[in-house]
Amino acid sequence: MNKIVYFLFFIALGTVATAQTKMSSKEADVLKNKVKVTANKTQSISSDFTQYKHLDFLSNDIESTGKLSFKAPNTVKWEYIKPFAYSVLFKGETLYINNEGDKSNVDIGSNKLFKELNTLIAASIKGDMFNDEYFTITYFKKDKNSEVHFAPKDPKLSEFIKAFHITFTSNGDVLEVKMVEPSNDYTQIIFSNREVNKVIPDAVFAQ
């Protein structure tokens, strides 16, 4: 009986090990360059997304779906469609909010944290957050994909976010962004129908 338990244990361990192993520094460099090249060529992104909010004490994750639109260098619109209509648009120095038709805006020019957040969101959409000055970065292989963990060094930011986990396809495109909180609760965003460098009508970024 014990043998079976050990056997199962090792099988389980083996599965975990093949699912996610640390990259060599050479492999990490290859990925980093691939993502950077892709990110630099990215003028626009439009994508659908599904968001899962995981709180440990809940029976089910809270699911919402919407659309992401990005235009270089850092205009970003997150639009939630279901189960509520809510959008945030980072454009220039302003954050425009549309809460079920109720519009408001926030001047982020003077707010350093908001500014950093915007840069971070734009960077995470493209996956280009490879900045050792701001993050402690660890690279993993995950089946055919890669997963990179970015742990913020800034104590102000690490109060909210323990780490960003970004999953890249073999082409260096972002498949998934997971923001892990210090409590280990997380927000997971999975992208689908991602279109890069397709012209996005200006109306999408109008508020």
Binding site: K53, N60, S64, S183, D185
Partner: protein, 202 residues
């Protein structure tokens, strides 16, 4: 003179009358009874609401999640739509704990208001010391955090809770669109400060 005295007496008596009496409710002969709030009572359910807070001209929106954990705790978390945690509270039978709150909101005055509002909102059982009736409405008087509260029960269930002070409404909790012991909309309205919390079930 006698007339003046008696009218003063009458005035004092009227202003001292409790909130239900002032509003035409009659004291019933039920004294001690149980108060039950069914809206967050199922431990297998996640109660998820889109939340809109308005404090004077300031607006804050997000998601409020309430979960009953076993029989000893109600957990309440408020996040932005994008998932960032704004606050995370635990309510126990006679205790309240802040698990997390954004630094900007970590002020005693804010915490006090939120603790009171949400304790009343999630408190499942309480003891009523007096019951009042008017037509088909039954009102039960009970204390929450040492403040007087009136629970309004109609045919469909609990429709309203009023926190009262010196015979005046301080906070009104409206439970709306009630279906299968669930309130699809909840409105918490403060009467002495301009604070309104609207919850819409998602």
């Amino acid at each position: 003179m006698r007339y003046l005295l008696s009218s003063i007496c009458l005035l004092v008596m009227v202003s001292c009358a409790s909130y239900p009496k002032k509003n035409g409710f009659a004291e019933s002969n039920i004294s001690v009874s149980q108060v039950y709030n069914p809206y967050f009572s199922n431990a297998t359910k996640d109660y998820v609401y889109k939340a809109d807070l308005q404090f004077y001209k300031k607006k804050l929106s997000g998601i409020i999640i309430i979960k009953k954990i076993a029989d000893k705790e109600h957990r309440l978390v408020f996040t932005t739509e994008m998932g960032n945690k704004i606050l995370d509270f635990s309510f126990y039978k006679n205790d309240f704990k802040v698990n997390h709150i954004l630094e900007d909101m970590n002020k005693k005055i804010i915490l006090n208001v939120l603790e009171r509002d949400f304790t009343t909102l999630v408190k499942e059982f309480n003891v009523s010391t007096q019951t009042y009736t008017k037509e088909h409405i039954q009102v039960k008087e009970a204390e929450v955090l040492n403040k007087n509260h009136f629970y309004f029960y109609e045919n469909i269930g609990l429709t309203k809770i009023i926190r009262e002070d010196k015979g005046k409404e301080k906070v009104v909790y409206h439970f709306l669109n009630i279906e299968d012991a669930a309130a699809k909309r909840i409105l918490i309205e403060h009467k002495n400060i301009k604070l309104k919390i609207q919850l819409k079930r998602i």
